[in-house]
């Protein structure tokens, strides 16, 4: 990887009282890649991701976006900087329709007096935009005006991914996006993650599912005890080797 990283984290530390969740964690995300993060429970994956998405603030360390130091105090700050996050627990509003979910919190208003003074929504434009995003990501649904609760679990996560892809300008973070899904639906979401990358957005993917990680990721960052212990690729390492590093059975000399 010769290009400069889009996102870079250096020496992140996060303590909760006596518990140290991150002890100097690093990360680099390069353009156009899917970077998977794996690690045992308590390895610091979630804490690292939360620091990158603004859900918590690290006690020490630095996060750089396009080379510039950033400090996210809330998820809103991270979103403002072009970082979108997809959560495992299907963070959608089930009674609202697909278009409403895609635009939730960022609704488009009509032009002119209707929008400025009456604050009227431009439902037509939002539906057209949502339809376009769904077509680009090849997510099949009957109608963009369907309530999300009528969709399957995979389609619902599709709504969440489409929302992230629609608004992310720099990168998308996916925190266990397939954990709540069945086998077939997981496959649909994995295809979707590839298409997000094809649209030019790099992806950070946290997953427990080794086969999926090895199928999808360009590089795999292995976390252990709050640190990055290795970065491997599916070409250079087998699944068993990755698991051995993850559990500490194999010691790695340097942290690359």
């Amino acid at each position: 990887m010769s290009a400069a990283p889009i996102l870079e984290a250096r020496g992140l530390v996060k303590r909760y009282g006596h518990v140290v969740a991150l002890r100097g964690a690093d990360l680099e995300l390069y353009p156009n890649e899917i970077l998977a993060i794996i690690g045992d429970n308590g390895a610091g994956k979630s804490t690292l991701i939360k620091a990158l998405s603004g859900a918590l603030q690290p006690d020490e360390g630095e996060i750089r976006l396009d080379g510039e130091s950033v400090h996210f105090r809330t998820p809103r700050d991270a979103r403002g900087a072009g970082i979108e996050t997809v959560y495992q627990d299907l963070a959608v509003a089930p009674a609202l329709d697909i278009a409403a979910n895609i635009f939730l919190g960022r609704e488009a208003r009509r032009r002119g007096v209707l929008g400025r003074i009456l604050r009227m929504l431009d439902q037509g434009a939002m539906r057209r935009e949502a339809t376009r995003h769904f077509a680009e990501l090849k997510i099949g649904v009957q109608s963009i005006a369907q309530p999300v609760e009528d969709l399957s679990g995979g389609q619902r996560q599709g709504v969440a991914v489409a929302r992230a892809a629609a608004w992310a300008r720099r990168l998308v973070i996916m925190d266990e996006p397939t954990a709540a899904l069945g086998v077939k639906e997981t496959g649909q979401v994995l295809d979707l993650i590839r298409r997000v990358r094809e649209r030019g957005l790099p992806v950070i993917l946290i997953s427990h599912d080794m086969p999926n990680v090895f199928e999808l990721a360009d590089r795999i960052q292995i976390m252990r005890l709050g640190r990055r212990v290795a970065v491997v690729t599916p070409a250079t390492h087998s699944m068993a080797e990755a698991v051995a590093i993850m559990t500490g059975a194999t010691q790695v000399e340097n942290d690359r």
Partner: protein, 337 residues
């Protein structure tokens, strides 16, 4: 041969289209409440000739007025999966303040109205603040406010009924004639409020966010919605609509009555919302449904009186009605989940 294959190919498609259209009509949230309204009207028109007379129907509208306006604020609160048990007594307090200020305090009519409405708004803001900032359950907060407003109503009024109100205070009780029926300005005001609430809920981002907060609060928060502000706004608006209902009540009864609004109005407003198809679990419902629900409640009260049912049995019937409506809500919700 070709015709049979064609028929075989098109018939299922057509049947599906018809079924689908039927399903879509039934899925329209206001269809159920509307059928209930028609059934209720049919029942009372069979029971008594007087029910469908124009004068009686315009009476029903006037009787629906107060609960109808309270139910607007109640709808907003219930859409966020909350509840406001204080709307009735807050309205009672507003009504007593308006009339006492105007009659005893010598305050001009408009400032009296405004002070009464602002007091109700203030109590709504108090409800919303406690729910949002102190994170207390809406049920307990508004039950507390219910008692506070109840006590203040009696303290402020000294249990005196205020009469001889200035005519400005009675404006919304005045009538005009349209198509042979007399309609009060209060009814027009109520319908205008419903139109406004419809627009805000359906056509603005704020309305979307009200639904989203009740539907999945965490998801709403994660998409960047200020959920606290939305909650505060719905309780504040419930306070405001209580104040507006107080103004309409004064126009209708032409007195400031310390015992008004303290028995049936709270539960009736909730009944209207639930009969209108809004879920107590939040996130689902329509303001048009609430208007229909309020009409059903009004028709029940009016019709039961017409056919000579004792007031105590009216309580009984409306109690059963609200439990029925809530049960339907619970059952459909469970099937969805």
């Amino acid at each position: 041969m070709t015709t049979t294959t064609e028929r075989a190919a098109t018939a299922p498609g057509r049947t599906y289209a018809i079924l689908d259209a039927g399903r879509r009509v039934l899925a329209t949230p206001t269809v159920g409440p509307f059928l209930a309204l028609v059934l209720t009207m049919a029942f009372f028109s069979v029971k008594t000739d007087r029910f469908l007379q124009t004068e009686n129907l315009s009476l029903v509208l006037q009787q629906t007025l107060v609960v109808g306006v309270l139910a607007i604020g109640q709808t907003l609160v219930i859409l966020t999966a909350g509840i406001d048990l204080s709307v009735g007594t807050v309205m009672a307090l507003g009504q007593i303040l308006m009339t006492k200020l105007a009659v005893v305090g010598g305050v001009p009519a408009l400032p009296s109205l405004l002070l009464g409405i602002l007091t109700c708004l203030g109590l709504g803001v108090l409800n919303g603040g406690l729910v949002t900032l102190v994170r207390l359950p809406p049920f307990i907060v508004t039950l507390g406010t219910f008692n506070i407003a109840f006590a203040l109503t009696h303290v402020v009024s000294n249990d005196v009924t205020f009469t001889g109100l200035p005519s400005t205070l009675l404006f919304f009780g005045r009538t005009f004639r349209i198509a042979g029926a007399s309609v009060t300005y209060g009814v027009v005001f109520m319908l205008a409020l419903y139109a406004l609430a419809w627009f805000a809920l359906r056509q603005t981002a704020w309305g979307r966010h009200v639904y989203a907060v009740g539907d999945n609060r965490e998801a709403a928060r994660l998409t960047g919605i200020h959920t606290g502000r939305i909650l505060l706004s719905v309780y504040a608006l419930a306070g405001l609509t209580s104040g507006l209902a107080a103004m309409l009540l004064v126009g209708r009864t032409e007195v400031g009555d310390p015992n008004a609004g303290q028995t049936t109005e709270n539960l009736d407003s909730i009944t209207a919302v639930v009969l209108g198809g809004t879920s107590l679990f939040g996130g689902r419902g329509t303001i048009v449904g609430t208007l229909i629900g309020a009409l059903i409640v009004g028709i029940f009260r009016n019709g039961l009186t017409l056919i000579g049912v004792d007031v105590i049995y009216q309580y009984l019937v409306t109690g059963i009605l609200v439990i029925l409506a809530v049960s339907v809500d619970q059952l459909t919700h469970r099937r969805r989940a």
